[in-house]
Amino acid sequence: MLRKSLAAAALGAALMPAAVTAQELTVVSFGGSYQAAQSKALFQPAAAALGIKLKEETYTGIADLRLKVKAGAVTWDVVASGSGSAARAGAEGILEKLDYKVIDTSSFLPGLWQDHCVGGDVFSTVLAWNTKTYGDKGPQSWADFWDVKKFPGKRSYRNAVAGSLEPALMADGVPPEKVYEVLSAPGGIERAIKKIKELKPHVAVWWSSGAQHAQLMKDGEVDMVNGWNGRFDVVAKDGGKVAYTFNQALLDYDCYAIAKGAPNRDLAMKFLAEISKPQYQAEFTKYITYGPTNRKAYDLGTIDAAYAKRLPSHPDNAARQLPVNLQWYIQNEAKAAAAYQNMLTE
Amino acid sequence: MARGASLPITIRQVTKGYGKVLALDRVDLDVRSGEFLTLLGPSGSGKTTLLMVLAGFTRPDHGSLLFGEEEVIRRPPHKRDVGMVFQNYALFPHMDVAANIAFPLKLRGTPRADVARRVEQALELVQLGGYGARRVDQLSGGQRQRVALARAIVFEPRILLMDEPLSALDKQLREHMQIELRRLHDRLGMTTVYVTHDQREALTMSDRIAVINGGRIMQVDAPRPLYERPANRFVAEFIGESTFLPVAASAGGFAHAGRVLKVAAPPAATGRCLLMLRPERLRILAAPDDALNMLTARVEDVVYQGDSVLVQAVLPDGCRIGVRAVSTAAAMATVARPGDTVTLGLAPEDTVILGEG
């Protein structure tokens, strides 16, 4: 252990000859149970393996990073982020380009890394329902979600545009593989918004956070919701009457990036390489039902087979889902968000 | 302003207790129609409580209160139709002077034109003609007092209550207002009940004074008999200065230090009694005078007080008494000095003997 640490330290020193004391890496994430899982499964073990000191901070989102970069006062190295936010932040130039010669993504599931960020976990925006209301005959598609005659009950839907338009189009009869095509075409966004307006009278709550939609299901406040799969597993584990399907779910991932001008850029790159290894990824699934981005994590045998089948990135599940198209979001999110907010306030 | 009718007030057995303390203890009092009656007493005596019972703000435990022939003890304040001047005037700060005075008239549905006329009349009556548009906070203390009075009389109540209305004014203004209030009363003729703790004010203004202490009426009388023939030691002490010497009943009357006292009228009291000595009724005699009751005393101190000079002296039995003399230049030239032994004279008419207690 000591030898390994010394070696890592020596390596670090060789990489950054000017910063002899800079063996402390600062990682920032969203806090809460999510960051607790990251810390236990990824950050702390990786830091120990590299023999470096680690400082963890929390932030509210990329807007915070933007301020720091603009002010030239970047103190963070590694930044945890949603894939969409990272893509836009990368395009804006407030993230470092990642060096995939250092970070090995050869065994990653396709599409789970990008120029400025490397995937850390895979999650799904799924259709969840109250099993007390619908028993085992729950809704199985977004068309069912929209069908208030066949499935009477209160809905909850996201109060932001991300992941909200795709289900509407699928409910409107667009096949999953055509969703982004339709959305990119003129009138596509309007078509989705119009479909959501149809459902609006039945939406009791427009949720704003994962914690909120989990609580809504736990309390039985609504009967059906679109939301993040990991949260519902936690609710079900606590005895909540909730089930969900990966059918027509939206496959998305959280990722890690390096802040533009990070004080320890090269060390951060090593750190990202470390946490992208399959053993870390497998460990992470023990804390939350978000899947590994590295396919090899399933081959290690440390993830229970039955459990693995419940993870979003399991091949059986991934096949039934629509991967989120980040490119579309980079180009259209601002415009779509304006239309969505307009719909909400109408 | 038309001379309004006035009503007599009959108070019977009015009692008000606060916990174990009786603020009013079976009070009986008759206020004659058109009379200026003052309730006089120390603070906490119950005089203000009695006034508040008259106004309807304090609900007594039991008793009867008649305005004229009418029982009003259970009538709420706004239906009693009595005028009242509050100690702090209670002029409405959000209204100007005219609106304050018009307030009771408007409540009584007086026609608009009459309101303006009567407000101006009332203002003139209190010598504030033309002050209608002033804000209340632009007025001096004396002016506020007059406005409060105007507001209390503008609706021609047959009974007027005043709760120490002059206590906030300085001495000169107060004395001026005492005369003015009394004159106004004489002009309007409404039955007036006036509360004060200032005995001089009570003596100056009242037709009669009711002295109250401990929730009970001690004496009701016109100023002069009240001062000169107080019913008991409390009244005597509360009104004017006085010293008391124990006297014993003897064959020929009452005696002090072995000498029988000459009195103008035989006292009602019997047994152990007190001789009341008022400083201004005693005189230092140049030579003994057998027509007077005489006391020998040793002068301790001489205090010059401007309008008079107070000689403090000690009787042989150790009693300390005061003698007030005029402060004319002639008198000052011959006034006694500390250490002198003097003979004091008291006329039989001024010799008052009270029952002890």
Partner: protein, 295 residues
């Protein structure tokens, strides 16, 4: 000659020194106001006029004009604030009145009750309302159990829930200044009104009520302005249907990564609030509201 003006210079210096000492006492507060108020507001103001690239631009304001949702959010914000203020007045005025008529000791005790909510965090209280009001919450549970109603009433995740939560939080802010003003109203005024012939109702409306107005305006203004900036309560109890400016600011920061857009919203809200304050000040004498109009 010098004797006539003996010590004049020294005395003047003493007076000056006293004034400086007074200013010295006030300077920490002035500095604080400068640092925590003026600077951030100035920074906010300047950010709102910068584009994403840092150039001078009105794009954030243009966006607010172009997208109808912004105008609706401002309308909602002012509506919710006005409704909250109105309900606070309807509930708080009688309560403050009763308190002001109680003996001081009893009133102080009741006041502790009024202020009790201040001792728990706003977030806790807001979530407590969620627990009480939701579909399977305490109130609906009891109501249905007792047969008062059969279907769960929509008490939360809507305007009603938001108003309940906001009124609960805001009520003390109305009652405190109002109670102070009412307490200071000399009881003799009402007695005088009664003595002059006004029954209880007229004495109240013609004398007590006008005299309590400075406190009412002060309290209402505090409540209204605090409501304008509310975030947590509409976010938790509004179900995403009551979107106020603060909620939109949070969404915009997430969406645009950008403080400029949010700053512009903040600036507009500030300007509208100041405008309102100015209008209110012209309507009522502001010194009466802010300075405690003496009697």
């Amino acid at each position: 000659m010098p004797a006539e003006r003996a010590n004049a210079d020294g005395l003047r210096r003493d007076a000056l020194r006293e004034r400086l000492a007074l200013f010295g006492l006030g300077s920490p507060a002035l500095l604080l106001v400068l640092v925590v108020m003026v600077l951030p507001v100035g920074w906010l103001f300047s950010l709102s006029f910068l584009s994403d690239e840092g150039a001078l631009s009105l794009e954030h304001y243009r966006r607010m004009l172009e997208q109808p949702s912004y105008a609706r959010i401002f309308v909602t914000t002012f509506q919710v604030s006005a409704l909250t203020t109105g309900i606070c007045i309807a509930l708080g005025y009688p309560l403050a009145y009763v308190l002001s008529q109680l003996p001081r000791r009893a009133a102080n005790l009741c006041m502790i009750g009024v202020l009790l909510p201040f001792w728990t965090s706003l977030l806790v209280r807001t979530y407590a309302w969620l627990v009480l009001l939701q579909r399977q919450g305490v109130i609906n549970g009891w109501g249905i159990e007792l047969g008062l109603w059969s279907e769960p009433l929509p008490l939360v995740h809507n305007l009603a829930g938001t108003l309940i939560g906001m009124v609960h939080i805001m009520l003390p802010f109305l009652i405190l200044p109002l109670y102070g003003t009412m307490r200071a109203i000399d009881r003799d005024y009402v007695k005088a009104a009664a003595n002059l012939g006004a029954g209880p109702v007229r004495a109240f409306w013609q004398v007590f009520f006008p005299l309590s107005l400075p406190g009412l305006f002060g309290g209402a203004l505090i409540v209204f302005i605090l409501c304008l900036g509310f975030y947590v309560t509409p976010a938790v109890l509004g179900g995403g249907r009551v979107i106020m400016v603060s909620n939109r600011i949070a969404t915009d920061i997430e969406l645009f990564f950008n403080w400029g857009a949010a700053s512009a919203l903040g600036v507009v809200l500030l300007v509208l609030t100041l405008g309102l304050l100015y209008a209110a000040a012209r309507l009522v004498r502001l010194d009466g509201v802010l300075g405690g109009h003496g009697t």
